[in-house]
Symmetry: none
Subunit: 234 residues, 2 copies
């Protein structure tokens, strides 16, 4: 077999496996085949397979444990504790696009956690690419720090606020998450999402704290109930 010039074998392996993960063939939490099985499947050496898996691990798509194997960690938007909810797409294959509504510095504007002064606010919508209809509306608030100035101008690392914070060495120590039914979508949110007001929606609120109990991040999400659900294994 001829090797396409631009892509090494390990990159190809990573690409094929990533496609299987993102397409849902390999679902969240599922075990990948063992390295030796992948050696068989791709007819390459184990070194090459491991390089490919390394690429996926660096992207955060899989995690591997000695003596056990590699596991898909994509889509578990929550924690890696293995014992939490993960948000799941109930509706098989919906292609999601993302649009950032704003990244701004402003006083706390959400009701729930005690007012905390200036915040870094990130509002984001995810929408169905075919129709443009908004499927999720997420409002994240993080206590302002001066080194967030760069975020305002340069945006987020990989579109993810948690990744942006992690890149600054910030990660939460504890947290809570609530899920409930929002019986009627408010008109303002409906307009932003391109939906009808009054629809029932799935609502998630997530509050994380740093080691000293201070607010780390607060996220409020409204999700299309036809597409999103929560899933847990135990």
């Amino acid at each position: 077999m001829k090797q396409s010039a631009a892509e090494s074998k390990s990159q190809r392996i990573a690409r094929v496996l990533e496609a299987e993960i993102r397409s849902g063939t390999l679902t969240d939490g599922a075990a990948l085949s063992s390295e030796n099985a992948l050696v068989e499947r791709f007819a390459v050496s184990r070194t090459t397979v491991r390089k490919g898996l390394g690429i996926l691990a660096a992207k955060g798509l899989i995690r591997t444990k000695v003596g056990i194997g590699s596991f898909v960690t994509y889509g578990g938007a929550v924690i890696d504790s293995g014992s939490g909810w993960s948000l799941s797409l109930a509706d098989g294959r919906a292609r999601l696009g993302t649009r950032i509504l704003r990244i701004a510095r402003l006083p706390m504007d959400l009701d729930d956690p005690a007012p905390q002064g200036e915040m870094l606010a990130v509002d984001r919508i995810r929408f169905r690419e075919e129709t443009g209809q908004g499927l999720t509306l997420e409002r994240a608030r993080v206590p302002w720090r001066d080194d967030y100035e760069a975020v305002l101008s340069e945006g987020l690392n990989g579109g993810s606020l948690s990744r942006t914070l992690a890149a600054r060495g910030l990660s939460p120590a504890t947290g809570e998450e609530w899920a409930n039914v929002l019986c009627a979508l408010p008109a303002g949110d409906a307009a932003l999402m391109g939906r009808r007001a009054g629809e029932p929606m799935l609502r998630l609120r997530r509050l994380t704290r740093d080691g000293h109990g201070g607010l780390f991040e607060y996220v409020e999400s409204v999700l299309d109930p036809e597409v999103f659900g929560l899933h847990m294994e135990f």
Copy 2:
């Protein structure tokens, strides 16, 4: 065998048992099943079971005596599990009454798990005592066994199906749970609950399996979204 997270089998066993201890299913001083029984239940080797028990012992949750068995030594407050989600009453203290709609032997009548033949069915409503309005509607299905005959005539142990099963030495090895928004309460369920049809509701589905992957229990619940939510700490 499919493993659900990047977690070793012994860790999973420890986690499941810890949840049972902390949730009060296994109370202080109670004996755990013997190691060989746990081998059966989780379908793993005794070495692995012992590793799991070792984790619990290291946490001080159990103590084991030669020739006798392992015992729960967790005396502390039996608050909620800490791992996984717990159903929480959003609406402070609503006094709940319980009404069993039926306990019956019948062929599988719910859509979700593959049809399994005869089932023990328990349908139950929880309602607000002040108003009589139904807050939850739960349908539980368990594959029929002949020794359930007594359940049909004598009812459940303490009103709980899981407790009834546990009393017969039956407990699940693994399970999954889904939560989503039921956009419109069907008319039939609405009549049972004394609610208006078409209301949005919170819907939970829970499927547990025995160690060999066979169906253990399936429960479908519909919950008042004003009163119930999901909560998780991590």
